[in-house]
């Protein structure tokens, strides 16, 4: 059936737990694009026949193929976009330099997207004010320093206070 491969791409991402980036399925993507090409060519020839040969019974088939094409496109764009969102999350979790294991899972274009995103974020942070701006990827949790130790002079001098 059509769009099987595209669905598999989406399912693959759906199965990977939130935040994890599976390896880039280049093969799968290529197959989906080939299927789209084949469908489109079949449609082109049918459209010509329908117009010139007056074969209006081909129209439902044309519509069906067109729907499959749209579905394929939607699935691929969803797959790629979701991967981008996961990669974006990596920047906030790991910082500017990604661990090697993750880098192998990304395609070259994804790496380029990541570098551009990093640059854009860095420009924004630098513009925030002061000389160096504010690094907002730090301070992810409210500060909770536990204790300050100090001694008192005078009558309480023996004890170590902690607040």
């Amino acid at each position: 059936m059509f769009c099987e491969k595209a669905m598999e791409l989406v399912r693959e991402l759906h199965r990977a737990p939130e935040g994890q980036l599976p390896a880039f399925n280049e093969d799968g993507l290529r197959q989906v694009l080939e299927e789209m090409k084949a469908l489109y060519e079949q449609n082109q020839s049918d459209v010509n026949e329908a117009k010139s040969g007056g074969r209006s019974d081909l129209i439902p088939t044309i519509k069906f193929r067109h729907c499959s094409l749209l579905r394929n496109r939607r699935c691929t764009v969803a797959y790629l976009y979701d991967r981008l969102l996961r990669i974006r999350a990596l920047r906030w979790e790991y910082g500017s330099v990604l661990p090697n294991a993750l880098r192998f899972h990304m395609s070259a274009e994804e790496m380029e997207w990541f570098n551009n995103y990093k640059k854009s974020l860095a420009t924004y942070m630098r513009s925030l004010g002061g000389d160096e701006g504010l690094d907002i990827t730090q301070d992810m949790k409210p500060p909770k320093s536990l204790y300050i130790e100090f001694f008192l002079s005078g009558p309480m001098s023996k004890r170590l206070w902690r607040i």
Binding site: M36, L70, V77, Y117, G129, G130, M140, F150
Partner: protein, 294 residues
């Protein structure tokens, strides 16, 4: 006076598990900063501090001036003159500035869409942080004072970072809608994006579009190569429900219920009351500051 300040800020503070007792005791503590000798019964088991910015840092109140004008585009003017556009100066103490920052932060966290940008608050807070850092560097190593000031600085930095992160996240999530709104904004309306955020949003959009085009779209049949991101990326859900506290009394708010059986009805919002209501109904009130999202 300190007691009153504590009760105002404790609602937000309690979210993070700061105890009321700890807050009250720190309020006492901060009023006695100058004196290193502290009476023992005043030393609390501090879990955290309230957000009163230590006024005694420099020994005097520091005034922040910024122009409040219709256009909201001017830089803070520290020489302070009334410009002819009918703008006024607002002089804020650091404590009030931090309060405004926290209000903006909570509003941004709980609102489903990107709110108006507040560049003047961000700039003033950054300046305050710089002053505090400078003062700390000059101060001698009196442990208690220095540590507590450092804690305070870290807290303010956290709130500011969290606020900016929240905004960035919303910009990235709704980027086509945010950019479209900015394009169709009329002059004189306040912008929901600062210039830097606008640049960031544009770069993000260009980056994503280029990526999708190069990896997939250009290999697709010619009639399918354009993807309308405005329709593909979901819009912010303005119908989601939010909690709010009313700061100024409002009358005659029109509420449209989501089921068809009930008709529209009108409610009044009393000052100090708390409600759970659809965001769409009260969106303009959040922008004007009449309600506070909690």
């Amino acid at each position: 006076m300190h007691g009153r300040r504590v009760s105002e800020s404790s609602a937000g503070a309690e979210k993070f598990g700061w105890s009321r007792a700890g807050l009250e005791q720190f309020a006492l503590l901060s009023s006695r900063f100058q004196v290193p000798r502290l009476r023992p019964h005043e030393l609390p088991v501090l879990t955290a501090c309230c957000s009163g910015v230590p006024r005694c840092l420099a020994g005097r109140r520091v005034s922040i001036r910024f122009l409040v004008s219709e256009k909201m585009t001017e830089e803070p003017d520290f020489l302070g003159q009334d410009s002819d556009g009918g703008s006024e100066e607002v002089v804020l103490t650091p404590a009030e500035l931090i309060e405004r920052l926290e209000q903006a932060w909570m509003n941004e966290k709980f609102a489903p869409e990107l709110l108006e940008s507040k560049p003047e608050i961000v700039e003033c807070v950054m300046e305050q942080l710089e002053h505090m850092e400078e003062n700390l560097r000059r101060a001698k190593r009196e442990d208690l004072k220095v540590s507590i000031h450092q804690m305070e600085m870290e807290r303010i930095r956290y709130v500011l970072s969290s606020y900016l992160r929240c905004r960035l996240m919303k910009i990235e999530k709704f980027f086509p809608h945010v950019l479209e709104k900015e394009k169709t904004r009329r002059d004189g309306e306040p912008s929901s994006l600062s210039p830097e955020e606008l640049a960031f949003a544009r770069e993000f959009m260009a980056n994503t579009e280029t990526y999708l085009k190069n990896v997939a779209l250009k290999h697709m049949p010619p009639n399918l190569q354009k993807v309308d991101l405005f329709r593909a990326v979901p819009k912010p859900d303005l119908d989601s429900y939010v909690f709010l506290r009313v700061r100024e009394r409002q009358e005659n708010i029109l509420v449209e219920p989501d089921t068809d059986e009930q008709g529209d009805y009108v409610i009044d919002l009393e000052k100090g009351s708390q409600h759970l209501i659809r965001y769409k109904t009260i969106a303009p009130l959040v922008a004007s500051g009449a309600v506070q999202l909690i």
